[in-house]
């Protein structure tokens, strides 16, 4: 049954309120210049219909192909198609929407004025996105107008300019605006994944868009590189490399500079994770075979030991509010997941089921922890409620399923699985639905998802 959902309406004047976002074609393809002085504020912020709970009916959207000016070049047509496809797949992936099939609106003219809203409403689409792509010199300009088909009103208008090479980013941005409008939450369409991939006999660090596009190798040292983790602002990646002979901690910046941040005496380090403010890194380091957790302050260069146990402590993960750290310890003989204050006090055990639970990942909302648990001779992904410890198993496939990490909106989990015989990166909804492989032409492990 279609939802009767109250959409937000902009005042009459808002018909001209177009959030102006410019995609600069410089070396920094996502640089964003502010709107022209005195210009109107960007759209959004007038949300009345917030959908967030799982299990809600998805909102039906009509997103017909974009209109192109008659002068459009072939390159522009391709870019227009790419933006369109990007928006479709972003909105489908988000889980909030169903994009209705084109045959349902086959007879409706896209350039009719006024817009035949009754006909669009009859398709069951509650909203209609009309996009127009036009050349602007060597660049393209996209105008995206989102209409409420029942209220017969414009509800969102956005304009983007950029080179055809950033077509996908343009699509991701508009998709994020649509998600934000309907949900009040930031979309994840511009998020990225970092992971380690097999190169020859070793592993290098890679980064790609969340949808598997735009993959690039970011380390090339021919050594072993593992455990990559995005900084909270997404501009840096921390990881472990053996390139100096022993496992050290490194931070790679967007500009390509690489810093060895290994504290003195921590030559056998592993498993870095960032504090939510980006100012510190928690990691494990072994001395005399004993792996303990340390917090390294990047500004002061000082590090502090926060666990003290003859057992192995590994895989630390900061809580989103910065107050706690989840980690793995085998202090009872087998690896289990524990929580503690970020300073190391008030340790409590989270997992009790199963003989081997590891790789905790705290959800962005702070209420759940995903982890890998050993069951029936393989690893599956579980999600435990932080308050109660009650866990739900999300994968039940052949092969090992490991390394869970959350998307910034807490609605998706990326993980590693060898269910096809080799290790690959997968995403799934936070209830285990819709597992999807992000195929790479080599084995891949250990993903992390940018905020």
């Amino acid at each position: 049954m279609p939802q009767t959902r109250r959409l937000s309406f902009l005042p009459e004047a808002a018909l001209y309120v177009l959030g102006m976002l410019f995609l600069a074609p410089s070396s920094s393809p996502l640089a964003q210049t502010p709107p022209p002085p005195g210009g109107p504020p960007a759209g959004g912020g007038q949300i009345t219909g917030v959908i967030s709970a799982p299990g809600l009916t998805r909102l039906a959207l009509a997103i017909p192909p974009f209109r192109l000016s008659a002068l459009a070049s072939a390159a522009l047509r391709d870019a227009s198609d790419e933006i369109h496809q990007t928006i479709l797949s972003d909105l489908e992936f988000s889980g909030y929407f169903d994009v209705i099939p084109a045959d349902r609106y086959a007879g409706i003219p896209l350039d009719a004025t006024p817009i035949p809203f009754q006909r669009w409403a009859a398709t069951n689409a509650i909203a209609l996105l009309l996009g127009t792509v036009a050349p602007e010199g060597e660049r393209l300009a996209l105008e995206g107008l989102l209409f409420d088909t029942r209220g017969e009103q414009l509800i969102l208008g956005k304009r983007y300019r950029g080179e055809t090479s950033v077509a996908r980013q343009v699509g991701h941005r508009l998709a994020n605006e649509i998600v934000l409008h309907f949900t009040g939450r930031q979309g994840i369409a511009l998020s990225r994944l970092t992971f380690e991939g097999r190169v020859g006999k070793t592993k290098e660090i890679f980064v790609m868009d969340y949808d598997g596009r735009g993959m690039r190798q970011v380390t090339r040292n021919g050594s072993l590189n593992v455990s990559s983790a995005f900084s909270p602002d997404g501009t840096k990646v921390a990881f472990v490399s053996y390139k100096a002979g022993t496992p050290h901690l490194y931070v790679l910046s967007q500009e390509g500079t690489m810093a060895d941040i290994t504290p003195a005496g921590a030559d056998l380090s592993a498993a870095p994770d960032w504090s939510p403010d980006g100012g510190s890194i928690v990691f494990s380091s072994a001395k005399n075979g004993d792996s303990e957790l340390y917090v390294h302050n990047l500004a002061t260069g000082k590090s502090q030991q926060i666990t003290f146990s003859p057992a192995s402590e590994t895989s630390p993960c900061w809580s989103p509010n910065g107050r706690q750290i989840a980690f793995t310890s085998d202090r009872t003989g087998r690896p289990q997941i524990y929580l503690m204050d970020a300073e190391g006090a008030n340790v409590r055990r989270l997992t009790f089921e199963g003989s081997y639970n590891d790789e905790p990942s705290w959800s962005p909302q702070g209420d759940r922890i995903a982890y890998a648990g050993w069951v029936d001779d393989h690893f599956d992904i579980f999600v435990a409620d932080v308050a109660t410890g009650v866990a739900q198993r999300l994968t039940d496939a052949a092969g090992y399923n490991e390394n869970p990490r959350w998307s910034a909106d807490g609605r998706h989990i990326v993980f590693t699985s060898n269910r096809v015989g080799i290790y690959q990166i997968y995403t799934m909804d936070d209830n285990g639905n819709r597992p999807a492989r992000l195929a790479t032409p080599f084995e891949a492990w250990g993903p992390d998802w940018s905020r």
């Binding site: 070793t202 592993a270 494990s284 072994a286 075979g289 792996s291 192995s312 402590e313 081997y356 890998a372």
Partner: protein, 188 residues
């Protein structure tokens, strides 16, 4: 067919790859005895990707003429020191592990100019980061054995590769058993 241990091969003569280095005699004492329990088959691949496994040594030439100093790389190519093995998710030293360590520690005592790096490795039935810690524990257990046996602690350093460097990429019990190991890398 079991290949004879490299230790046996070098029992009389330590052979260097003659193509590169000519040859040189070596009077290292062979190990007094073989371990009681046979450890799993010696991995046939080299531990380091950049070092190709050596070809089988040819018969010794009649007379060593020029002697070049032996390098650590030479010794490692000859697999002078034994790889030792562990049980699943454990780092305690089995009897056969101790037997191998006994042989290795004798060699280290008799060849005090060399240092050694102990690499801890794991099978892949664990998570990568926990296996890093487990590999550290295995390497350290071996190091403690050597120190107790009288090897100077400063000669022995450790590293863990977790499950990142399997000698056998398979997923059988046989493969796992070969991968749960500590390897010795002789250093200058």
């Amino acid at each position: 067919m079991k290949q004879p241990r490299s230790l046996v091969l070098i029992a009389g003569l330590l052979l260097l790859a003659p193509v590169i280095l000519g040859s040189v005699g070596c009077k290292k004492k062979p190990p007094a005895e073989q371990p009681a329990a046979a450890p799993p088959a010696q991995p046939v691949t080299a531990p380091k990707p950049i070092v190709e496994p050596p070809p089988p040594p040819p018969p010794p030439p009649p007379k060593p003429v020029a002697s070049k100093p032996i390098t650590a790389a030479d010794l490692n190519m000859q697999k002078i020191l034994r790889t030792v093995y562990f049980d699943y998710n454990k780092y305690d030293l089995r009897d056969d592990t101790r037997a191998g360590l006994s042989v290795n520690s004798e060699w280290l005592k008799a060849n005090s100019k060399w240092r050694v790096l102990i690499e801890g490795h794991c099978d892949d039935r664990g998570t990568n980061e926990y296996n890093m810690a487990l590999g550290d524990k295995r390497a350290n257990a071996v190091r403690q054995y050597l120190i107790t046996a009288g090897i100077d602690a400063s000669r022995v350093r450790t590293i863990s590769y977790g499950e990142e460097r399997p000698v056998d990429p398979g997923h059988s019990e046989d493969a796992w058993a070969k991968n749960r190991r500590a390897e010795f890398v002789i250093e200058d």
